[in-house]
C-alpha cells in the first residue's frame, strides 16, 4: 500500500478537490510519460455494474460494506474508499453514476488495483464488471472515428486464445476463478510457461485513425482474431494520449486531463446502460399476464433467445474440452454451473446458473452455435460476459443475435441514441 497516496486521498473532502487532485496528477504523469519514465502509477478507473432491479438495489456503502470496505461520503454521489483489510488504506474514490453503475477511481499501481477490484467483484454477487465484447468495441471504434481527427493515433489490442483446443490447466482460472489476468490477457508469457500448441493471438496496433480505418475491416476478414478487440483508446481531444478502455471495464488515463477521462467514461457508461436496457427488454423471458378477461389465466410468453453463431464449426475435441472445462470444473472461465444433458456428439443442453450473479440461464451448446434463454431477472451482464468470453476463448468471429436482431446493430443503435444528460 502506498502510504503517501492513502494520506493524499484522506485529505480530499470535496468533489472539486478530487477533480483538481486527479487533474494535476494526470498532467504530471503525462509529462513523465513524455520522458518515458513515470514516477507514480497512472490514474485508472473501473466501471462496475450493480443489480438492475430497483427493489434489490443497495446503497454503495452497503454493497462495499459486505466486503468490509468503508465508504466515506464526500457528496451525494462521491465517496472515499477505505479498506482496512490486510493493511490497505484509502484505495481511491467511488462515484455513483446511477443506482446501477459505479466507477472506482484510483492511482494505485495496476497490479494492486486490478487485483483489489477483481477480488471485490469476485466476492460480491451484487457487483460485476461491465463487459465490452469485441463486437461492442467494433462499434465503439466507429464512434472513435467520428469523434477524433483522422491524424490522431489510436491504440487497439486484440486478444484471442483458443484455450479449448486442448485440455489443459490453462482452461481454469489461475486462482479464485479470476476473470482476467493482470495484463488483461489470458496469454501465458513467461519463460517457464508450458509449450502449448493452440491458436493464441495478441496484437497491439497503434497507428493513425485514417490508416486503421482503411485497413481494419480487410484485416479482420483475413484473420478473424482481429475481431477480438479487447482494448480501445479514445484519443483525448485536449492533448496527446487518450483513454484506454479494456474489455472488463477498466479504463487507464493516458491523457493529461482527468475531467476528459471522466467524460469518456460517462459516455461509454451511457452507451452500456442503453445497450443493457435494450438487451434485457428484448431477451428477458417471462409469462406476462394479460390484463383482459379472467385475471391470471392468460399467460403470454415474451422474450427472445440469445444466439451466438460460430463462424466455423468447432472441432469435436474443442467442443468436448469446452464442455468438460466449463461444466466439469467448479472453477471455470465462464463462471457457469450446470449438468450437461448430452443430446449428441456435439450438442448438450444445460439448465444452468451464472455463478457470479447466481441467476438462471438455459443453454443449448453445439459445435455451431450457443442458444441462451434468459429468464426475466437474469442480468443483461450475463449475456455481455458470455459474448465477451466466446469471442476471447472460442471464436473471435462469432456473431450474436438477440432474437432476429444482430447484437452489433443493438450496440450501434445504443451508441447513436446517446444524448448528453445532466442527470449524473
Amino acid at each position: 500500500m502506498n502510504i503517501d497516496m492513502s494520506k493524499e486521498i484522506k485529505s480530499i473532502d470535496s468533489r472539486e478537490k478530487m477533480i483538481r487532485y486527479f487533474d494535476g496528477y494526470a498532467a504530471e504523469r503525462m509529462e513523465e510519460l513524455g520522458k518515458k519514465s513515470t514516477k507514480r502509477p497512472l490514474v485508472k478507473s473501473y466501471m462496475l455494474e450493480h443489480v438492475g432491479d430497483s427493489q434489490k438495489q443497495k446503497d454503495i456503502s452497503m454493497v462495499l460494506g459486505m466486503s468490509g470496505i468503508i465508504t466515506e461520503k464526500i457528496d451525494e454521489n462521491l465517496y472515499r474508499v477505505l479498506d482496512t483489510n490486510n493493511g490497505n488504506g484509502y484505495m481511491g474514490f467511488v462515484e455513483v453514476f446511477t443506482p446501477r453503475y459505479f466507477v472506482f477511481y484510483t492511482s494505485q499501481p495496476s497490479d494492486i488495483a486490478d487485483s483489489w477490484v477483481k477480488n471485490l467483484v469476485f466476492n460480491s454477487p451484487d457487483l460485476d464488471h461491465i463487459w465490452l465484447s469485441g463486437l461492442t468495441f467494433n462499434v465503439l471504434w466507429k464512434r472513435v472515428i467520428q469523434l477524433s481527427k483522422p491524424y490522431r493515433y489510436v491504440s487497439l489490442l486484440f486478444v484471442h486464445e483458443s484455450i479449448y483446443e486442448i485440455d489443459s490447466k490453462a482452461n481454469e482460472p489461475e486462482h479464485n476463478e479470476n476473470e482476467y489476468n493482470e495484463d488483461q490477457s489470458a496469454l501465458i508469457d513467461r519463460d517457464v510457461a508450458e509449450i502449448i500448441e493452440r491458436r493464441a493471438a495478441k496484437f497491439k496496433l497503434v497507428d493513425k485513425i485514417s490508416v486503421v480505418q482503411e485497413k481494419l475491416d480487410k484485416l479482420q476478414e483475413l484473420y478473424s482474431p482481429l475481431y477480438a478487440i479487447s482494448q480501445l483508446r479514445f484519443p483525448s481531444p485536449i492533448g496527446r494520449g487518450g483513454h484506454d478502455f479494456y474489455d472488463n471495464g477498466k479504463v487507464t488515463n493516458r491523457s493529461g486531463d482527468f475531467r476528459d477521462h471522466r467524460s469518456h467514461i460517462l459516455y461509454v457508461q451511457r452507451i452500456y446502460d442503453e445497450l443493457m436496457k435494450r438487451t434485457e427488454e428484448r431477451a428477458w423471458y417471462s409469462l406476462d399476464k394479460e390484463k383482459v378477461s379472467v385475471p391470471g389465466k392468460f399467460q403470454k410468453l415474451i422474450g427472445a433467445p440469445v444466439t451466438i453463431d460460430f463462424g466455423e464449426p468447432l472441432s469435436k475435441e474443442t467442443f468436448d474440452y469446452w464442455i468438460k472445462s466449463t461444466f466439469g470444473r467448479i472453477n471455470n472461465k465462464f463462471r457457469l454451473w450446470g449438468n450437461p444433458i448430452v443430446l449428441g456428439p456435439t450438442k448438450v443442453h444445460v439448465y444452468g446458473v451464472d455463478k457470479h450473479l447466481w441467476k438462471p440461464i438455459f443453454l443449448e451448446l453445439t459445435n455451431k452455435h450457443l442458444i441462451a434463454i434468459v429468464p426475466k431477472g437474469t442480468c443483461g451482464n450475463t449475456i455481455h460476459r458470455l459474448i465477451c468470453n466466446i469471442q476471447k476463448y472460442i471464436d473471435p468471429s462469432a456473431k450474436a443475435y438477440i432474437g432476429d436482431k444482430e447484437y452489433k446493430s443493438l450496440v450501434d443503435e445504443s451508441s447513436k441514441e446517446i444524448k448528453y444528460g445532466t442527470g449524473y
Partner: protein, 356 residues
C-alpha cells in the same frame, strides 16, 4: 444415439415446445429452427388457457352436441391485428368421432367460430378468423382432417357456427424435420412458405429436441422415455432454482422451501395455471421426493443446514458465509439424472403439502 425421430415427432410435449420455438424471433439464417409462425406475424397470446363456452352456446349445444363446457388448447396464437386467432392443439395421432378427444375437438371447433374473440375476452369482432389447428405426428393428417370435417359438418347441421380447422403434420427423415400443411392452412394462418417446409436440420446421432420452455405437463401422455427426459429437465431446473435462490440470498438465510415456487420457476409460471389438481399434487410429491434425495446426498456440515419439519416441509438454515459456500458447493455436485427420474410417484394421505 439410437432414436426414432418420428416417434419423437408424436410426443405432444416435443410438439408444444417446437410450436413455441416456431413463434420465436431467431437469426435470419435459421441457426436452429425456422420460426414459420413468427415470420407470419403470429405470436403467442396464451399458453394452455382454460376457456369456457358462453352460456347461450352451452345451453343449446349440450342438447344437440357431444361437447364439453370448457377446453384448454395448448396454445393460442394471434397476429398483431388480432384478426387471425389460432387455437393450437398438439396430438400424437388422429382420433375417432366417438372418442373423448372428439368431444374436446367439437368444443374447440365451436370456440374457434365467430365467438372466438369474445371467448378470449377481446370483445366481439366480426372480422376475426378463428382456426383450430392440430400439430400432429407423421401420417396422421389425412385421417384427422376427415374426422374434423365430420365434426364441423355435425356442428353446422345443428345450427352452430364452427371455426375453420386444419392440420400441420410433423415428420422426419434422416436429415430434416418437415412440416406439411394444406394450402387452406397456409392461407388461414398467412404462412409465408409453401408446404412441405423443412424447419430443422438434423445432425447424425443427435436428439433434435430444442431447449424446452415447458419441461413437463402432467396432462400430456408421453412414452416412458419421453417422460424420463421431461422429468430430468424438470429436476435440473428445480436444482438450478434452488442454487440461484441460495446463492443470491444474503446470510443469515432461514427459509422454507416452497415446492410450488420452484415448480412455477421451472415451468415459466405454467404450473400455477394447470387445471389438474391431482396431477399437480403428484408433481409436488415428485419434487418433495427429489428434495429428500438432495437432503440425503448432503454431507456434514452442509447437511445441518437443511432439515425437514413435519408441519412445514424443508427448511434451509444457513448462518454465515462459510456455511453458505459449503452448502452451495455440495448442491453443485448433485446429478439429478441419477436420482430417480423414472420413479412413479403417487400422492399419499397425511403428508405435508405446501400448496397455497
Amino acid at each position: 444415439m439410437e432414436q426414432d425421430i418420428n416417434s419423437l415427432c408424436k410426443d405432444p410435449l416435443f410438439q408444444l415446445n417446437l410450436a413455441i420455438w416456431l413463434t420465436q424471433p431467431q437469426p435470419p439464417d435459421n441457426v436452429a429452427i425456422d420460426p414459420i409462425f413468427y415470420r407470419s406475424g403470429l405470436s403467442i397470446y396464451s399458453i394452455g388457457p382454460l376457456l369456457s363456452l358462453p352460456p347461450e352456446v352451452r345451453i343449446n349445444a349440450f342438447e344437440k352436441l357431444d361437447c364439453q363446457d370448457k377446453a384448454c388448447p395448448d396454445l393460442v396464437l394471434m397476429n398483431s391485428e388480432r384478426i387471425k386467432i389460432c387455437l393450437l392443439e398438439c396430438k400424437a395421432s388422429s382420433f375417432g368421432i366417438r372418442s373423448n378427444t372428439a368431444r374436446q375437438a367439437r368444443t374447440l371447433l365451436l370456440m374457434a367460430g365467430p365467438i372466438v374473440s369474445d371467448i378470449l375476452g377481446l370483445g366481439r369482432n366480426w372480422r376475426n378468423c378463428g382456426i383450430l389447428c392440430y400439430l400432429i405426428g407423421p401420417n396422421q393428417s389425412g385421417q384427422l382432417e376427415d374426422t374434423l370435417q365430420t365434426l364441423q359438418r355435425e356442428i353446422k347441421d345443428n345450427g352452430f357456427e364452427p371455426g375453420y380447422f386444419g392440420c400441420i403434420e410433423i415428420s422426419a427423415d434422416e436429415s430434416v424435420i418437415t412440416l406439411e400443411y394444406s394450402l387452406e392452412v397456409k392461407e388461414l394462418l398467412s404462412l409465408k412458405i409453401d408446404s412441405p417446409l423443412q424447419i430443422m436440420k438434423l445432425e447424425k446421432d443427435t436428439d433434435p429436441r430444442p431447449l424446452y420452455f415447458i419441461p413437463y405437463d402432467p396432462n400430456i401422455n408421453q412414452t416412458a422415455e419421453e417422460k424420463e427426459f421431461s422429468r430430468r429437465v424438470l429436476f435440473e431446473r428445480i436444482l438450478e432454482f434452488f442454487i440461484t435462490d441460495i446463492g443470491g440470498a444474503d446470510v443469515p438465510i432461514k427459509t422454507y422451501i416452497k415446492t410450488e415456487k420452484f415448480l412455477n420457476d421451472a415451468t415459466f409460471g405454467m404450473y400455477s395455471i394447470w387445471d389438474d389438481d391431482e396431477a399437480k399434487k403428484c408433481l409436488r410429491k415428485l419434487v418433495r421426493t427429489f428434495l429428500k434425495k438432495i437432503e440425503g446426498t448432503l454431507k456434514t456440515p452442509a447437511k445441518e443446514c437443511m432439515h425437514y419439519e413435519i408441519e412445514d416441509g424443508y427448511m434451509v438454515d444457513i448462518k454465515d458465509d462459510n456455511a453458505k459456500s459449503e452448502f452451495l458447493k455440495q448442491l453443485q455436485k448433485i446429478k439429478p439424472e441419477t436420482m430417480g427420474v423414472s420413479e412413479r410417484v403417487q400422492p399419499s394421505l397425511f403428508e405435508y403439502d405446501d400448496h397455497d
